[in-house]
Structures are given as C-alpha cells and as structure tokens.
C-alpha cells in the first residue's frame, strides 16, 4: 500500500494505484484460471495432457496483454 499523504491530489493518486494493483491481480488470476481451465477441459475431453500448459501460457499472455491495454497505453 502506498503511503498516505495529507495532500488530497496525492491521496487520489494512491487510490488509483491501489485500484490498478487489485485489478491487475484480478486479471492475471482470471486469465490463468479461465484459459488454464479451458485447456484442462480439452485435455480431459481428448485424453491428452499438454493443453492445460498451452492454456495456462495463453491465459498468462492474454492477461498481461490486457493489463497493458488497460493501464500501459496512454
């Protein structure tokens, strides 16, 4: 958590940072869970064992891209 400042502008900034922090955690988490889950489902369906890895990597990549889209480009 960032330090609190009596200056209200800074405080707003720290809240935005906090928002970004938790959103990023959420995106990374759901990227892994959703695409990893889809990969796992495909594995179960086709009796393979590598789609879960593909899904996890895809999910991680996609969620990092999403984080960049939302917070990186300005």
């Amino acid at each position: 958590m960032s330090k609190k400042n009596p200056n209200s502008g800074d405080q707003n900034n720290s809240k935005n940072e906090e928002n970004a922090l938790w959103s990023i955690v959420g995106y990374l988490l759901s990227g892994l869970v959703i695409w990893g889950g889809i990969g796992w489902g495909v594995d179960n369906w086709l009796d393979t064992s590598y789609f879960v890895l593909v899904g996890l990597l895809l999910g991680a990549g996609a969620s990092i891209y999403l984080v960049w889209l939302r917070f990186g480009r300005d």
Binding site: Q11, N19, G26, S30, V33, L58, Y65
Partner: protein, 259 residues
C-alpha cells in the same frame, strides 16, 4: 512442534475445528457465536452512532468527535475522493459496510469476545454479494445493459481475433474474480490471523505446564502473541478499509463513462 509436544500430554495444535463453534441453544445452527457477534455488532454500532449524534453541538464532545471522524473518513476519504460528484448516494452503504466489517474484525482481539466474525466465510460472501449486486445494478442503470456488457467484453483498439482471448478473461474478472477475491481476502486474513493468535497463546499456555525448560520459553510465546495482537489490530483495520475502498472503486468504475 505439534508432534513433539503431543508426545507429552497431548498438545492439540489449533486447527480449522476451532472455528466450528457449537450452537448455543440446542442444535439450532443459527445460534452460534459468530451469529450472536454479528447481531451484537449491529447493536453496538447503532448505539454508538445514535449516542454520538444525539447531542450534536457546535463544540463537539469527545464522543461526538469520535463518531464524526469515522463518518467523515468514510464520506470524504472513501466515497467522495473515489466516486466523485454522485458520492452521497453511496455513503450510507459504504459507511455501514466499513463500520460493520471493522467492528466484527475487532471482535477478534477484544477480550471475552475474541472471535473475528469474518473468519466464517459466509459473512464475507454475503457482503461481497451485496457489493456485486450494487455495482452491477448501478452500471446497468447508468449505461444500459447492452452498452455495459459491450464495455466489459470488448476493449476498444484491439484487433478483432484477439477478443476470443480477452473476452473470457474480462467476463471472469467482472463476474467471478471480483466478488470472490473481495470476500476471500477478508475471510483469509481474519482466519489466518485468528489461527496465528491461537497458536502462540495456546502454545504458550501449554509450555507453561511443561518441564522447567519449557516454562522458561513460555513467556516468549506469550510476548509474541501480544505483539501479534497489535499486528492483528492493524490488519483488521486495513481489511475493513480495503473492502470498503474496493467497493467504492467498483462503484466508481460503474459510473465512469469510459476507462
């Protein structure tokens, strides 16, 4: 450590079983300690704020000052700074949320009560459900259902095929991860904190009954337990703050026209 001590006269390390308190009246599952604590907190909060507001004066008493600082903290620092000009509509909810969570968390370190209500997962679940319903409702009312769903699912400025990758993640974030992380963060912090205190304080008490060598170590366990109690106090306030802050941020996101 647990196994080592257990060989003597059966030290039972604290476990999840310590959170399953028996019903107070017969076998009615709605009369457990956390339920009473939740009701007690509501009474406590109501009495405190009614009393602090009743004799409102220009020159406030200490009591009134305490009540007003909590209120203005939630109103100004959480609601107004985060939500913006429409904040007044949400102050009652945010204020209720903050005081309810804070009081119930603090029950974890108040002597004789000593149980954080939020370490039973259903309480945070219900609170997160309220927040979930509110921020989606506000967004749908503000933007319209179709526009809102479109905003969630289709981030602008992305080549079309990439949506196949991104849309499931966005949907999961808004409808699954947000309420789950909101409730589990609060639950896990309260649960782990209470367990930690149990380990050190029950452990210290058990060491006291051991041989002389163990008796000498026992004060350190107690001292650590007391230090952790102060640490817990900090965590409890912080978690109440985070829960309310994130709720305000979600509402602000629902009211914002673009990201």
């Amino acid at each position: 450590m647990g196994v080592y001590l257990a060989s003597e006269d059966g030290f039972k390390p604290p476990s999840t079983a310590d959170f399953n308190l028996p019903p107070v009246f017969g076998d009615n599952p709605f009369t457990t300690k956390p339920v009473f604590l939740a009701f007690f907190s509501v009474i406590l909060i109501s009495v405190f704020f009614i009393l602090s507001a009743r004799k409102a004066a220009i020159v406030p008493s200490k009591f009134q000052f305490a009540g007003e600082s909590i209120y203005s903290f939630v109103r100004n620092d959480l609601a107004r700074d985060v939500i913006g000009h429409e904040f007044m509509r949400f102050v009652p909810y945010l204020f209720t949320l903050f005081t309810f969570i804070l009081t119930n968390n603090l029950f974890g370190i108040i002597p004789f009560l000593q149980f954080p209500t939020m370490s039973r997962v259903s309480f945070p679940y219900v609170l997160a459900l309220f927040t979930f319903v509110i921020f989606h409702y506000v967004a749908i009312k503000h933007k319209g259902l179709i526009a809102y769903l479109k905003e969630i699912m289709f981030m602008p400025g992305v080549p079309k095929p990439v949506y196949i990758l991104l849309t499931p993640i966005e949907i999961a974030t808004y409808f699954l991860v947000r309420p789950l992380t909101l409730s589990l963060r609060l639950f896990a912090n309260m649960f782990a904190g209470h367990l930690l205190l149990l380990v050190f304080i029950l452990g210290g008490e058990h060491l006291l009954q051991g041989v002389i060598g163990l008796k000498l170590v026992s004060p350190f366990a107690f001292a650590f337990g007391i230090a952790l109690t102060f640490f817990e106090f900090m965590v409890q306030c912080l978690q109440a703050y985070i829960f309310t802050l994130l709720t305000a941020l979600y509402i602000a996101g629902a009211l914002a026209d673009e990201h």
